[in-house]
């Protein structure tokens, strides 16, 4: 059996060429018809070709040539296993609409090529699929799919049915390459398909092939004239300047963090499903919360109350409460009997139509109040009325 295909099939690959044109495929012709593989563009043509290519018998052992949503039944009829959860090499099958008749849609199929994340129970959580689609502008593409709602990234009209798997199929166990990380011991493979052996030495069994890219290494040995690097348990590659470059780990600077657990902060911006920036989630705006976790050494190291997601430090600012405004004192209402100091001019009549009344600086008593009049406060003492004043001309003592 072969590893699952991760790249576009090209001219001469008979698993993706119709029998009428010298290939192995019994599928209908794709549309727009790909110039290299004429069962593309079509999800059925691709998944049928990829499944049979994995089987690798130089013929169409599993004729998955029917409507996409019927792949489950066709696969069972031909001895394929069907699982609920995808693994590398599986063919994912979706139903469109409520029936399997094709009258309410054809469904969709895609091949699982990578499992990027797993749930705590070991089942797949984030995968990559390779696929095609009838009428699509390109004959092949890859999709990252997170199973957030049981649909594995399919649209609302689709229902995920299950995954076809060739019984006994085991994808290559060669560890996948990783992102470059200057703080880890890494070796870059610069050629296609570098042999991976079960131990250091050219006499050791070939387990598979490492593709171009970076691999972490954990141990070295000298054997058969080469320096060997262990990139996983029981997986060794030979180093040579022509096909590899070795990057020993650089010392990691001690990260400093502006915030600590428990700090009250304001968060603004993008949240992520993990501290490395994977699975972007919602964005938040001016949310006041507390730092609950810090994942040191990661680009999005902060999590906050309620496990909303992971954030970069640049999306966080310290919480500073808005100062409470000092309330404007309510003017004390004057009433009869209040002792007041005259601070402004008054009038000799509450209507203001009589001459000016003085007395500025004098202390007097409010004798009567004529509400609604321009000079409502009648002010005086035992001797009599001093004058009539507005509220603003009197200061209550």
């Amino acid at each position: 059996m072969n590893d699952v295909r991760k790249t576009r099939p090209v001219a001469g690959n008979k698993y993706y060429i119709r029998r009428a044109n010298g290939g192995y495929s019994g599928c209908i012709q794709g549309s727009p018809t790909d110039s290299q593989c004429n069962v593309l563009a079509n999800c059925v043509g691709y998944a049928n070709g990829a499944t049979n290519e994995q089987k690798g018998e130089g013929r169409e052992v599993y004729p998955l040539t029917c409507n996409a949503e019927n792949f489950i039944e066709r696969g069972i009829a031909y001895g394929l296993s069907v699982y609920k959860n995808p693994e590398v090499g599986d063919c994912l099958v979706w139903q469109k609409g409520s029936t399997l008749s094709g009258s309410d849609g054809a469904g969709h199929v895609a091949m699982c090529t990578d499992v990027l994340e797993r749930n705590a129970d070991g089942t797949s959580k984030v995968i990559i699929t390779s696929e095609s689609g009838y009428g699509a502008s390109k004959p092949f593409w890859r999709t990252q799919r997170t199973n957030v709602n049981g649909k594995w990234g399919a649209g609302s009209g689709y229902t995920f049915r299950g995954c076809l798997r060739i019984p006994g199929y085991k994808p290559s166990t060669v560890t996948p390459n990783v992102d470059k990380d200057i703080y880890k011991n890494q070796i870059e493979v610069k050629i296609t398909d570098l042999r991976v052996r079960t131990d250091a030495g050219t006499d050791k069994s070939i387990l598979g092939f490492a593709s171009k890219g970076y691999y972490n290494y954990y141990e070295t040995k000298d054997a058969s004239g080469y320096k060997w690097y262990r990139i996983a348990d029981g997986q060794w590659i030979a180093s040579n300047d022509n096909w590899t470059t070795v990057y020993p780990a650089q010392p990691k600077p001690t990260p400093t963090y502006k915030y600590k657990i428990g700090d009250k902060v304001v968060i603004n911006g993008q949240l992520y499903g993990n501290a490395d920036g994977g699975n972007p989630g919602k964005t938040v705006s001016n949310r006041v919360t507390n730092i609950t976790r810090i994942a040191e050494g990661h680009p999005y190291p902060y999590n906050t109350t309620g496990d909303l997601g992971w954030m970069a430090e640049s999306s966080i600012s310290p919480y500073s409460p808005t100062p409470t405004p000092t309330p404007t004192p309510t003017p004390t209402e004057l009433k009869v009997g209040d002792t007041v100091k005259i601070v402004g001019e008054g009038r000799a009549s509450s209507y203001g139509d009589k001459p000016v009344a003085g007395g500025i600086g004098w202390t007097r008593t409010i004798l009567k109040i004529y509400k609604g009049r321009p000079y409502p406060n009648q002010v005086g003492n035992k001797s009599g009325t001093t004058g009539f004043y507005k509220d603003s001309a009197l200061k209550k003592l």
């Binding site: 029917c66 039944e73 069972i76 799919r145 957030v148 019984p167």
Partner: protein, 74 residues
């Protein structure tokens, strides 16, 4: 597709099926194996006699993909 009377499907050694499926449709596919293998293009004949794709999926990405899906590359 009208359902036929369902009968138990005998799985092959090592074959695992964890999901619900249409047993009648499986039986129909089993009953027509000969048509599938010999009837489609075996001698260059482009006209199938049974079991080819009858409905194609022309949904664009907006319909085909939903929450949790990101198209990566070609």
């Amino acid at each position: 597709m009208a359902k036929k009377k369902e009968k138990e499907i005998k799985l092959e050694d090592g074959q695992v099926v964890e999901v619900e499926y249409d047993k009648a449709l499986v039986q129909e596919f089993i009953d027509h194996k000969e048509d599938v293998v010999e009837g489609i293009g075996a001698d260059g004949d482009d006209v199938p006699t049974y079991g080819l794709q009858t409905t194609v999926n022309t949904d664009d990405f907006d319909e085909l993909l939903g929450e949790g899906a990101v198209v990566l590359d070609e």
